[in-house]
Symmetry: C2
Subunit: 342 residues, 2 copies
Amino acid sequence: MAKKKTSIKDIAEALGISITTVSFIINGKAREKRISEEMTQKVTDYIKKIGYKPSHLAQSLRLGKSRVIVFMVEDISNQFFASIARLIEEKAYKNGYKIIYCSTDNDVNKAKELISTFKMRNVDGFIITPTPDLETTIISLMEEEQALVLFDRWIPELDTSYVVVENQKSAKEATLHLIDQGSKNIGFVTVDSNQTQMLDRLAGFQEAITEKGSNQETLKISPFIIEKKQISLHIQDFLTMHPSLDALFFSTNYLAFEGLLALAALGKKIPEDIKILSFDDHYLFNLYQPKITSIEQPLEAIAEKLMESILGQLDAEAPSKPPQKVVLPNKLNIRESSLKGF
Amino acid sequence: MAKKKTSIKDIAEALGISITTVSFIINGKAREKRISEEMTQKVTDYIKKIGYKPSHLAQSLRLGKSRVIVFMVEDISNQFFASIARLIEEKAYKNGYKIIYCSTDNDVNKAKELISTFKMRNVDGFIITPTPDLETTIISLMEEEQALVLFDRWIPELDTSYVVVENQKSAKEATLHLIDQGSKNIGFVTVDSNQTQMLDRLAGFQEAITEKGSNQETLKISPFIIEKKQISLHIQDFLTMHPSLDALFFSTNYLAFEGLLALAALGKKIPEDIKILSFDDHYLFNLYQPKITSIEQPLEAIAEKLMESILGQLDAEAPSKPPQKVVLPNKLNIRESSLKGF
DNA sequence: TTGAAAGCGTTACCAG
DNA sequence: CTGGTAACGCTTTCAA
């Protein structure tokens, strides 16, 4: 494949000077090393002429840094992760870093394998949404002093940097809103896993319920259901088993979409028959009739903090700080689906 | 950062043997090089014990291959691209390749810069949705005999591998369906650009119109409109200016979503007042009331062909084939939004 | 002001 | 069967 690439050596030979000189000039150390103006000029001109680009690979090997950051999420085709990815990518490129994405499917073994292969690629930093049981691997990453930041969920036992949102607080607030709108019997539909963000959302929900003495039912959908259709059917069953439910809180948007389908199948009217609301805003919540109330995570801020944290750890100049633990506020977008008088 | 990593040299020293031997064993050439069973055993045991992993960086430098493929799309947060990315990623990992994603925003300069920086990272292959005016860069890639495959759109003048879908045929078929359902005056809403896929869709639409002698109007939305709201307003204007339109064909799903918003604002009923249909299926088209008719691209097949093509080019064993030009069929999902009697 | 050479971690050729 | 060593492309120390 690919024609032989010109190397720094070729340049040196062509110009009849040493590799060192070329290297210094390329790396902007001409001044510092007091290389003559004309030499510098000659070299830069030649480089521009032949369009030489140094090999990042060789640089990485030599310097022990690759300027690559891994962004490891549950599923990159998920809108939430894809959006963050997009924002991260932008900020990374601006700082001379590249991003490698990968999806874990929330499978520990896949995650472990991925981390191991990335370590041997000398990536500089890891941004990870941890799968269950990933503690030991994360610990080894910490021991090796790798730049690391968790997001979306974190591991309570570990003292790592992370960026998450106020799951519990927002879930509580949203639940209170539902109660405030007259809901007396609220169903919480979530995914059956012990990821912190899901647990916190449930906790927030229950806190509100307890506080106000309302009734509640909870449906935990197995994360192993691949076929979406199944999810919708589960929700239908849930609704028929608990006919008195007058509101539904979905812990994440894809569950809400399935819920919408279930509700339509049962001929339930939103919000007259049943009010609904979901965590994780989605562009289409604003489009659906009625518009769906939801809790919006601050994508931009999450990406910002993530990069700030990882870049901070990567900055050799800066003194190494203690792990940064960032918890960002969400925004409750109240729309038609949860309103009493609508 | 990171503790000193153990290298092949450390292993050789620790075991009192040569680097070469270790290297052979690691690379499974023990048999071939007729290294003794016990030596092999000793080394593999030791490697397992200390958990040694070879440096991919050094391997890449040495071998001139990085086992990295770049996936360069317009916008990775777009559902279509994110879904393909997910599928590609899976297939790549299975073959020992990693994927680096990046978004061009359909901006030539960004694309050029990206390609240049990836070249110096010795990536092995490029999967690209070309931006306008990217010809020269693509040509230089071809001259360097880089593994390359375009997708979503391609560059007619260039003899590259590509994977696209039957845009024209499907658009025509969909338009005929609309006419068949009694539409007499169809509006085509597209993005104002000369990307091949959009042009082909328009061509297919017009072909059907001409063939059947129907009426048509076309609205081209500038790709520079960032604010979605604006798009929706444009569509509203379009509809009020052409009140006789009885069907709308959206060339891509995000335009359809905005169209839905516009239609709702104008109080138009689908499909009674106006029928609609869109290119690029979306999970939510099936959820909306009424369900939206759309043309579904074969994501899985696209990803499959893309990887097949790039891996084929990367396979040193295989004789270099002429560029593979793949055109995949789509599927017209007829749903409620385009049906007469609904 | 410039150059020689070591070294980053591998692979693979050539000896023995 | 095993080992020495050049080379991949670069940075950087030390020397001139």
